[in-house]
């Protein structure tokens, strides 16, 4: 297939992540801003005059400039997305999404290019984004095109499909795990929507167990500070090859597994000492929150991941990740299933775990853990981490913008195609 000169110049990608918005025209990597907005229209006009501000909502790097000088800034700062979704009626959230989208186009609108008639834009949303989110995102782009003539055509794809495209895998399972949610999406040229399995858990579970560990170590006051708990989790957490075996070895030789976490900005150091075996709970809970060791934490009040109900089916919130992947694949045709198990791609910050030198016999990375879980079910699978987790969704969106032809118009039934100027708006 030949890629037109126009597409080569004006293909544009957008990844609407919960924490970050990645955007930009075709390049090796995108620009990134935080997915948040500061509502200045509610702030004292005196402050605004000092800064010479006329905008009502600020996004991008400018947000940090104002934060120090505005009292009680949390009232004015809006993070529009939670686990990749936006509430239908949250107009402040939609306003922020409009502003960050417009920010991107203002950054890259080509000046003085006579051939420019607008970008071919592919936006990527969560796999479970409902129809109203698609409608609002289209509306945002239509409005921006009216104002800036920046959008010749726009389409929306699910983020797991974008990951598969970036990984150059036509048949695979993409497992996307963020803070509060994990999606398992089998893909065979298209996402197989009836086979998507969604788990109500993610990095938040690891944060919760890390907080319990801090309380156990006598740092209960710090356990309520989200940022502190996350730093502690990332510094000491490990994924065990086998939890029972790992705990046994760690208790037999605590010095080998000893973890020390220095609190930034202080001279205080948290020494896990003989309780260093608890490091393995942090990694294990992401992959198997059903292990009996967690029951005592649930009974003390740590939230148990909620079940998901899809039609008649109930997916246990604590289902081991390997079992959830097998459940998703089993909903596809029997001929396809072995091909899907050949390529399982793990994407998202929740899978970024290291294996410290010297602990390779006990600790594993996320891909090995999933492979072992599937192997215990009699399934020989290939599991890999997405090669560029930060940018893979955006990259997939760019390829999509390059390739899909003009005559593929948007279809709500198939949820694909171009929403096009001159046709739809």
């Amino acid at each position: 297939m030949a890629i037109s000169e126009y597409r080569r110049k004006y293909a544009y990608g957008e990844d609407y992540g919960t924490s970050y918005f990645k955007f930009g025209p075709i390049a090796e990597k995108p620009e990134v801003i935080e997915n948040r907005g500061l509502f200045l229209e509610e702030v004292s006009s005196v402050v605004l005059k000092i800064f010479g501000v006329t905008k009502k909502v600020v996004v991008g790097p400018d947000v940090s400039r104002y934060m120090g000088s505005i009292e009680d800034v949390s009232r004015y700062l809006v993070y529009p997305m939670k686990d990749g979704l936006v509430d239908r009626n949250d107009e402040r959230a939609w306003r922020v999404l409009y502003e960050i989208t417009r920010y991107g186009f203002e950054r890259f609108l080509p000046a003085g290019k006579s051939d420019f008639q607008g970008f071919y834009v592919t936006a990527a949303l969560s796999a479970i984004a409902p129809d109203y989110m698609y409608e609002r995102i289209f509306d945002i782009h239509v409005r921006i095109d009216e104002e800036l003539k920046a959008v010749k055509a726009v389409t929306i794809i699910p983020q797991p499909l974008a990951v598969a495209i970036a990984q150059k895998s036509v048949t695979c399972v993409v497992v996307e795990s963020g803070h509060g949610n994990t999606q398992i999406t089998p893909i065979s040229m298209y996402p197989i929507r009836r086979a998507i399995v969604s788990l109500n858990r993610g990095g938040a579970e690891a944060d919760a167990i890390a907080a319990e560990i801090l309380k156990d170590l006598g740092y209960g006051d710090r356990a309520s500070e989200e940022k502190f708990v996350r730093m502690f989790k990332e510094a000491v957490g490990l994924i065990p090859r086998d939890l029972d075996e790992a705990i046994k070895k760690a208790k037999e030789d605590p010095e080998r597994f000893r973890a020390r976490f220095k609190i930034p900005g202080t001279r205080i150091e948290i020494d896990m000492g003989a309780k260093s075996w608890m490091r393995f709970l942090i990694g294990e809970i992401i992959f198997n929150p059903e292990h009996e060791i967690f029951e005592s934490f649930y009974s003390k009040g740590m939230p148990r991941p909620r079940d998901t109900i899809l039609g008649d089916e109930r997916i246990r919130g604590t289902m081991p990740l390997g079992e959830a992947i097998e459940r998703a694949v089993s909903k596809t045709s029997i001929e396809l299933q072995p091909q899907l198990f050949r390529k399982i791609i793990l994407s998202g910050g929740n899978f970024a775990w290291r294996v410290p030198k010297g602990l390779e016999d006990v600790a594993v990375d996320a891909a090995t853990k999933v492979k072992l879980q599937l192997s215990s079910m009699g399934i020989n699978a290939n599991v890999e981490l997405a090669s560029d987790p930060m940018y893979s969704v955006w990259k997939g969106a760019i390829v999509y913008s390059l390739a899909v032809p003009d005559d593929n118009k948007w279809s709500w039934e198939k949820r694909e195609g171009w929403y096009m100027r001159g046709v739809h708006y």
Binding site: I3, I26, I165, K168, R342, G396, L402, V404, G417
Partner: protein, 248 residues
């Protein structure tokens, strides 16, 4: 002003910056015979004991002091701090476990008057206060009376049911037993079917997956010339060809 008073005022200032207030309620007068300060942080009552530890023996007494503080204040306050003046921080390292296991916090008052929080205290108690107003008690009594009436009505109904003729009762019991047996058999069949399906799936996966792993899947990759000059993630990407065929 004595050295002790000066140091206590430094500690007060330290907590005042966190918007803690000193408590003067008569309820805590007895605690003040042992502790030097009683402060309040939101809903928490915090007791603070100041000690001077210029000698090694004074340091040893600190270990016992943790236990004494807990004995005096347990159940009466939410948190306890021991503020130490005169000891080098490094000499307190040996006592760290005593503080941690007791859940007592450690403040170090430096020579320059600076207060440093070295160990955070643990919450020592949970208070559950149930306030029951007179009105609420009356409502509870009324609800209880209503329940009694309903229980009596149910008992009457059950007695009525017990008047079923012996024959009919036995017939019903036989039918129920028969149903229970059939359900058990069905459950057993379903369980065996499920196990057989799982066995077949595993066997299929193992046979076919092993074969599939060896068989390369041929993909129509985009040719180098088509993607020349484009970023690396576009080059050799089979999706280019696939997506380009998706016409309307």
């Amino acid at each position: 002003m004595s050295a002790r008073s000066l140091l206590l005022s430094k500690i007060r200032d330290y907590f005042a910056e966190r918007e803690w207030k000193e408590v003067s309620s008569p309820e805590y007068e007895s605690l003040k015979k042992f502790f030097d300060l009683i402060m309040q942080d939101g809903n928490n009552i915090v007791a603070i004991k100041l000690v001077f530890a210029f000698s090694p023996s004074a340091l040893n007494e600190l270990r016992d002091l943790v236990g004494k503080c807990l004995n005096v204040a347990y159940g009466k306050v939410d948190k306890i701090y021991i503020a130490v003046c005169g000891a080098k921080p490094v000499s307190l390292l040996n006592l760290k476990n005593s503080f941690l296991s007791g859940g007592v916090g450690l403040l170090i008052v430096h020579e320059d008057g600076r207060v440093e929080e070295r160990i955070y205290p643990r919450a020592l108690r949970e208070d559950l206060k149930i306030f029951v107003s007179g009105k609420a008690v009356e409502e509870l009594r009324s609800a209880l009376e209503q329940l009694k009436v309903r229980v009596q009505a149910l008992e009457a109904k059950i007695s009525g049911l017990e008047e079923l003729r012996a024959g009919e009762h036995e017939k019903a019991m036989l039918a129920v037993s028969d149903l229970a047996r059939r359900v058990e058999k069905l459950e057993d069949k379903v369980s065996r079917l499920f196990q057989e399906v799982e066995r077949l799936k595993r066997s299929y996966y193992q046979r076919v997956t092993a074969r599939e792993m060896e068989t390369p899947v041929s993909l129509t990759e985009s040719s180098t010339s088509e993607a020349e000059g484009l970023p690396s993630f576009v080059q050799g990407n089979p999706w280019l060809s696939l997506l380009s065929k998706r016409t309307g």
